[in-house]
Amino acid sequence: MLAELHQRIRPTVLAAERTLPVPAALAPLFPVGGLVRGSSLALNGPGATSVALSLLAELTRTGSWVAVVGLGSLGWAAAADAGVVLRRTVAVTQPPLSQWAVVVAALVDAVDVVVVDPRHQVRATDAHRLAARARERGTVMMRLTVPDGARRFRWPSEADVAITAQSRWSGLRSGWGSLEPVSLRLTPSGRRGRPVAPVEVVIGPAGSVESAGGVGPAGSVPRLRRVV
């Protein structure tokens, strides 16, 4: 509590510390313990949507605005259950393909986090321009890949942090049972991601993210390099 207060009233903010908050259990995945403003994040693998929703929940709860481009299949009931504040979440589900980059650029200007899932090949110049704009405006670009069976083109540049999820659902038997909270194994990579060990978390029904006890090895604790 006190530490949190201290964080908030600290007078100087370094560039690397201009971060947006993430759920505590997911913090080890990020180099500075939060989403650095202006950076990019890629989420893929089974369970990526659940991770995205719990990140968005924390972001919108703390006052950030989120825009979702494309992704017409997002389950809003799940979003609301996860704790995403819907009145700070706007959706542009069908941007005209010819204007996709323009729309995303306008959203980068308007909100704090833009979630995209392009089905088309994004041109390298567009991607670089968007990245530069996001860096300048301090907006996080979140690239979410949903498993809809459609083919995806490779994004021209690698994300600052990429998280690959592997979900494990349990609770269903043969003919009965109900789904239990999903447990996920999250492996970070990417340009700025540190090669830390995968993190195991459980996402509860109300969007609570708990780290699965005792699984994270000691190596996942950030180690400070000593400078002499």
Binding site: T49, A78, D81, P95, V102, A106, D109, V111
Partner: protein
């Protein structure tokens, strides 16, 4: 009491159950209007059948299976109401619309001209009745109330009382004879409260009317009033007269500004003393759209920008306005003007909504009379002006000390206007709760401009019997992706009339073929079975495939599809 504090004698014309009346043809069928699964307005015929405001959709359909339910459409309500207001233009230029279905104007000047309050009321009633009779399908079903009293609150209550008398009269006349016209003449034309008689008139009303007459658009105000009424009735103060009898200082000390406002209303005074000085001219906002406005979607875009500018100007001086005047110059050289009033301060979103309604009304009206006599008079809108009236000091809202929740984030909404200009105003959406059994219908994306973000409907308290419980699926495919579900003997799985599976699901065949590792179900829903068109019968099973993915697989009309995926 200073002379400024004398309540203005006001005429209120109230159209009973306006959302239902404006929703389309209502003759010879019970109609109810719903919003977020609750009935908000009913026609007399539906009311006779037992449908009441506040009921759930299910309850209403149980009481009256043939009731026609329509989704609420505030834009349409406002647009249709413009015809009614237009008819009253003949009486006075000072018309004020507080919400679609309720219009008011100062009584004194027209009363002098036409020879008394009763004459004005009679004229107002006959003008509105003539318009209503001309509107397709609403004849005779709409209760119109006219009330005259000192102060707008008392006049509104008088108008509602008058409309109730009318409709009860009409119902009895329906039973006795089919000739409604004759009995209408016998009924009282209006409820006219004699001068300075408002406090006695109000004293009889229960304190609950303080909530009922609140403008539904400002949900925070309604909520605060509801709390107040709740406490008052538990304190034993059940009538407005009892509230008015309390010392004003004590009410203010105990209940704050909300209590003070309620006390003022209960004692027959206007909510805010009239602000007699003209507002500074530079608060007006002008726009000269080029090309001239002809379509509603153009108008809504202009409305938004102007509303933001107006509110910015007011806020810069620490002021708020509770009334906004929309005036337009038309290509034919004509000028039209309307006042919109709102209890409490107007926000930018509320102003934009009202301007959009008004422009929509004018532009639609123009089209309607395109070939008729008005064709020369009304052209496209070439100049628009917004003028704030009834300006008060902004009591303000304290921003969070740590930043944090900044309310609606008007800065963001303003920058989203650029996106709207790219993809169209309707393509920028937010999710709103609607309720339903399947994962697809529970939330619906609605255009950002059509909702008040502060009052965005969250998940409602209503239970939906038969809905899927447990963890909601993170991805919903609409329409479902077609697949084939086979049992262990490679036969297509069926669900019989009693909701039993023909075997155990063993394979899901998509592009590939995956074995079912675990499953649960089936859950059968049989919705709207009384309606041959909208009837849907579906069976759903939850299946975990051997690649670990979990899907909601739905069977409808003999075809399987993946409706949702837990991801």
């Amino acid at each position: 009491m200073s002379p400024v504090d004398v309540p203005v004698r006001t005429v209120v014309v109230w159209c009973d159950e306006w959302p239902a009346v404006a929703s389309g043809p209502v003759v010879d069928r019970p109609v109810a209007v719903i919003r977020a699964n609750r009935i908000v307005s009913v026609t007399p015929m539906a009311h006779t059948a037992g449908v009441e405001v506040g009921q759930r959709r299910r309850e209403a359909q149980r009481r009256c299976p043939q009731v026609e339910l329509r989704e609420r459409d505030p834009d349409r309500e406002a647009r249709v109401f413009e015809q009614v207001v237009g008819a009253l233009d003949e009486l006075t230029p000072r018309l004020e619309i507080s919400q679609p279905g309720c219009v008011r104007f100062p009584a004194r000047a027209p009363a002098r001209y036409f020879g008394g309050d009763d004459a004005v009321a009679g004229r107002a009633r006959s003008l509105v009745e003539a318009v209503m009779a001309g509107m397709a399908g609403t004849t005779g079903e709409a209760g119109i109330g006219v009330g005259i009293a000192d102060g707008a609150f008392a006049a509104t209550l008088a108008a509602r009382q008058s409309s109730n008398q009318q409709s009860s009269n009409q119902q009895s006349s329906n039973q006795q004879s089919s000739n409604r016209q004759s009995s209408n003449q016998g009924a009282r034309v209006a409820v006219v409260v004699p001068g300075e008689g408002s406090p006695e008139f109000l004293a009889r009303f229960p304190v609950g009317v303080l909530v009922a007459t609140g403008d539904a658009a400002s949900s925070q105000l309604v909520e605060a009033r509801r709390d107040l009424v709740d406490v008052l009735s538990r304190l034993g103060i059940r009538r407005l007269g009892e509230l008015a009898a309390l010392p004003v200082a004590d009410v203010s000390a105990r209940f704050g500004p909300v209590g003070l406002a309620a006390h003022r209303l209960a004692s027959g005074q206007d909510l805010s003393p009239m602000y007699l000085a003209d507002p500074p001219a530079d608060l007006e906002v002008h726009a000269e759209p080029d090309p001239p406005l002809e379509r509603v979607d153009q108008a809504s875009f202009v409305a938004k920008g102007m509303a933001d500018e107006l509110i910015d100007g007011l806020r810069g001086r620490g002021l708020t306005a509770s009334c906004v005047v929309v005036s337009a110059e038309l290509a034919g050289g004509w000028c039209v003007e309307r006042r919109w009033r709102h209890e409490g301060a107007l926000s930018a979103a509320a102003v934009a909504q009202r301007v959009r309604w008004q422009l929509d009304g004018w532009l639609t009206d123009r089209k309607r009379f395109g070939e008729g006599r008005l064709s020369e008079q009304r052209g496209a809108i070439i100049r628009l002006t917004l003028r704030p009236e009834d300006i008060g000091h902004d009591r303000g809202r304290q921003a969070g000390f740590w930043g944090g929740d900044d309310g609606t984030g008007e800065r963001v909404v303003q920058s989203l206007a650029r996106v709207q200009s790219l993809v169209g105003a309707d393509a920028v959406q937010v999710a709103e709760w609607r309720g339903g059994r399947g994962p697809a219908g529970q939330y619906q994306l609605v255009p950002l401009d059509t909702v008040d973000l502060d009052a965005l409907a969250g998940s409602g308290p209503e239970p939906w019997p038969g809905r899927l419980v447990g963890v909601a699926p993170a991805l919903v495919w609409s329409p479902p992706r077609p697949v084939q579900v086979l049992d262990i003997g490679e036969a297509v799985l069926r669900v019989d009339g009693r909701g039993l599976l023909s075997g155990e699901p063993a394979w899901v065949v998509d592009r590939g073929r995956l074995a079912v590792a675990a499953w649960a179900g089936p859950w059968v829903t049989d919705e709207r079975w009384w309606d041959p068109v909208a009837h849907r019968r579906r069976a759903r099973i939850q299946a975990q495939l051997d690649d670990g993915s979990v899907h909601l697989v739905v069977l409808e009309a003999g075809r399987w599809g993946i409706e949702a995926t837990w991801d």
